[in-house]
């Protein structure tokens, strides 16, 4: 197990290098960072532009791309204060990125906890009497709700609860002008975005969990468990749910890997200052120095959670050998 983790972590390094290189190429071709720099700083002198190219490694030609990538990588690994600065006002990249990362983690964390617990629970309830009324209602509504695009639910919820009824604030983390921490205000602002994200998770995981339990329902070992004379509740928790969780938790691991970059729509609609809004702004400006660290975080998060998913799979199912 430990050897597996170490080997996978060692593999992580070349994988991150390779994928970031691809992303580096895509961004350079897609956004043409030198042009976007000049657009953002129309009065920049030739020397300034040259300096920007040097610092970010934006050389031309085949070898220029390779050399440029490694020179960017070199400045990147030296730590946030050495990172090239944003094209807008030479602002540092890490403080706003870290700020948005924590905001997204807060939104993602709360929504995931709420969404997963409700989702798994409803899935289990639905599976108790497959084909029954409760199952029909849960399964069908999960199906329909799961078909609703998150920006639709976000816009509709915003329209109803923030604009028409005025119960909740429509956007942001705090009202304009507020500074300092205020739990009550923050909770109010979080309710709508959390609902939008949690609904998606609930709809998805209720169906996964239900399908997974129905999969194990006719297993011989459930019959063995019943033949022992233990309670139905124990059969459910120790046997059906326990075994059904194996694929579901693995899936959850993979889903969590994408969540940092996956809340763009919700964040944009509720003007929630998270990673998604950061990315949209950076992408809109073609801000190369901001885009690259963002991408690194997304890539590392995806790969790390892939590893975590593999590990949980092995922990939950002893038949899986890691090597």
């Amino acid at each position: 197990m430990l050897r597996f983790i170490i080997r996978r972590l060692l593999w992580l390094v070349p994988t991150v290098v390779f994928v970031t290189f691809l992303v580096y190429v895509a961004i350079r071709i897609g956004w043409n960072p030198v042009a976007t720099y000049k657009r953002a700083n129309p009065r920049a002198s030739e020397a300034k532009v040259q300096q920007y190219i040097e610092v970010n490694g934006l050389y031309e030609g085949f070898w220029g791309y390779i050399r440029g990538y490694f020179s960017w990588l070199w400045s990147f690994v030296q730590g946030p204060d050495q990172w090239p600065r944003s094209i807008k006002g030479r602002a540092e990249v890490w403080p706003p990125l870290r700020y948005s990362m924590f905001n997204t983690l807060r939104l993602a964390g709360i929504s995931t906890i709420i969404g997963i617990s409700i989702g798994l629970l409803t899935g289990i309830i639905a599976s108790l009497r497959p084909g029954g009324i409760v199952d029909g209602v849960i399964n069908t509504s999960a199906f329909v709700v799961g078909s609703i695009q998150p920006f639709v639910s976000a816009v509709v919820l915003q329209l109803i609860f923030a604009v028409q009824l005025g119960w909740l604030p429509p956007a942001g983390v705090y009202p304009p002008g507020q500074d300092g921490f205020d739990l009550w205000l923050m909770t109010q602002h979080l309710i709508l975005p959390v609902t939008v994200v949690a609904i998606q998770i609930i709809a998805g995981y209720a169906r996964y969990m239900r399908a997974s339990i129905l999969d194990v329902r006719s297993s011989d070992y459930l019959r063995t468990a019943r033949a022992k004379g233990i309670s139905e509740f124990r059969v459910l928790t120790r046997h059906s749910v326990r075994n059904a969780l194996v694929p579901v938790v693995t899936l959850l691991g993979l889903d969590l890997g994408t969540i940092l970059g996956g809340l763009i729509i919700t964040e944009a609609i509720f003007e929630y200052p998270g990673m998604g809004v950061f990315f949209l702004r950076a992408a809109g400006n073609g801000d190369f120095p901001q885009l690259m660290p963002y991408m690194v975080i997304i890539i590392v998060s995806v790969l790390m959670f892939n590893l975590i998913a593999d590990l949980t799979y092995a922990v939950l199912d002893p038949r899986i050998r890691l090597d």
Binding site: Y221, I230, P318
Partner: protein, 326 residues
């Protein structure tokens, strides 16, 4: 037979399916006394497993069970969840057909045995654990302590079946149902498993029902036999009588499909079992029976008729010559 611990009377099991009602078991009687081993034989699909799963309440919701089944005088059919829970694994335990899938792959062997112990006894985890290791030792698993900490996939088929047996006898049940315990195993392991079961039957005076379609197994270990066909008992006999003078054409068919000394050609029973969605009237075997007459189609409830010391469902049993051609 007043002292029988397991008593089935007119047990019927039917399944509601998309295609109609499948009458899997159509009235089965059975008595087993303490320390006795009764064999139940019959082709695949004759309703052997379903009978016992049915009385223990282990069938899916689509199944309906009627009749009466008592263990030590306690009625199971129609008994509530509480009653069934008290019986399962305590008074009546079952060893299943396929040891590969009958154990939960994600729990340790020891924990799975502990679970059945603690379901019926107010003991601590460590006490139950000690007992589990003891049980593994009884069924002949070497290094039981270490083995109890392993998972099912680390055990061979024969070893898993031993674990199943250990689990089944954990609470010293009055009745043990062994549902084809050896079918999935190779011949040498089969013999060992049978020995373990016989030892338990002897030492603990457990009433054992040995379900199988292997007459060889019956010949070795059972005291009495019930032959089932299409959800009904067609013959009830002592093992000796079954082989020496079978009293139902179906039994004769089963016996002549067995390999014997000096015989090179096996004689399978011609035809296939009836469709249980619409069981035929009268004797279900008549379509495949060389002795069948019009009288066999009359739908009288087949009271078993005596034939020598055996009981037979064949109404013509005393008119025909049932000698097994050797």
């Amino acid at each position: 037979m007043t002292d029988s611990v397991l008593k089935l009377r007119d047990v019927k099991v039917s399944f509601n399916t998309e295609n109609g009602v499948v009458q899997a078991v159509r009235g089965v009687d059975l008595d087993v006394a303490a320390g006795e081993m009764v064999g139940v034989v019959g082709e695949s699909g004759s309703g052997k497993s379903v009978t016992f799963l049915g009385v223990m309440g282990l069938l899916p919701g689509s199944a309906t069970v009627t009749g009466s089944a008592t263990v030590g005088g306690v009625e199971m059919v129609g008994g509530g969840k509480k009653v069934l829970r008290g019986i399962r694994g305590k008074k009546m335990a079952m060893i299943f057909q396929d040891p590969l899938s009958a154990l939960n792959p994600v729990h340790k062997i020891g924990d799975q045995i502990i679970e059945i112990i603690r379901a019926h006894n107010d003991v601590s985890n460590s006490e139950a654990s000690t007992r589990a290791v003891e049980l593994l030792d009884i069924v002949g698993i070497p290094q039981p302590k270490e083995r109890s900490r392993q998972y099912p996939h680390e055990f061979s088929g024969g070893m898993r079946q031993r674990v199943m047996i250990a689990m089944a006898i954990a609470n010293d049940p009055d009745v043990l149902i062994a549902d084809e315990p050896t079918t999935a195993l190779d011949v040498t392991v089969q013999a060992q498993i049978l020995e373990v079961i016989q030892r338990i039957q002897r030492d603990m005076r457990t009433a054992v029902v040995m379900i199988t379609h292997d007459l060889g197994v019956i010949a070795r270990v059972a005291d009495r036999v019930q032959v089932m066909y299409a959800g009904r008992v067609v013959e009830r006999a002592s093992v000796m009588n079954l082989f020496d003078e079978p009293s139902h054409p179906y039994t004769v068919g089963l016996l002549s499909s067995l390999p014997r000394h000096g015989q090179t050609r096996l004689e399978p029973i011609i035809g296939s079992p009836p469709n249980m969605l619409q069981p035929p009237s009268g004797c279900a075997f008549r379509a495949r029976c060389t002795f069948a007459t019009d009288a066999c189609a009359v739908d009288v409830l087949p009271e078993l008729v005596p034939h020598g010391e055996s009981m037979s469902a064949c109404i013509r049993v005393n008119e025909i010559d049932l000698a097994v051609k050797v």
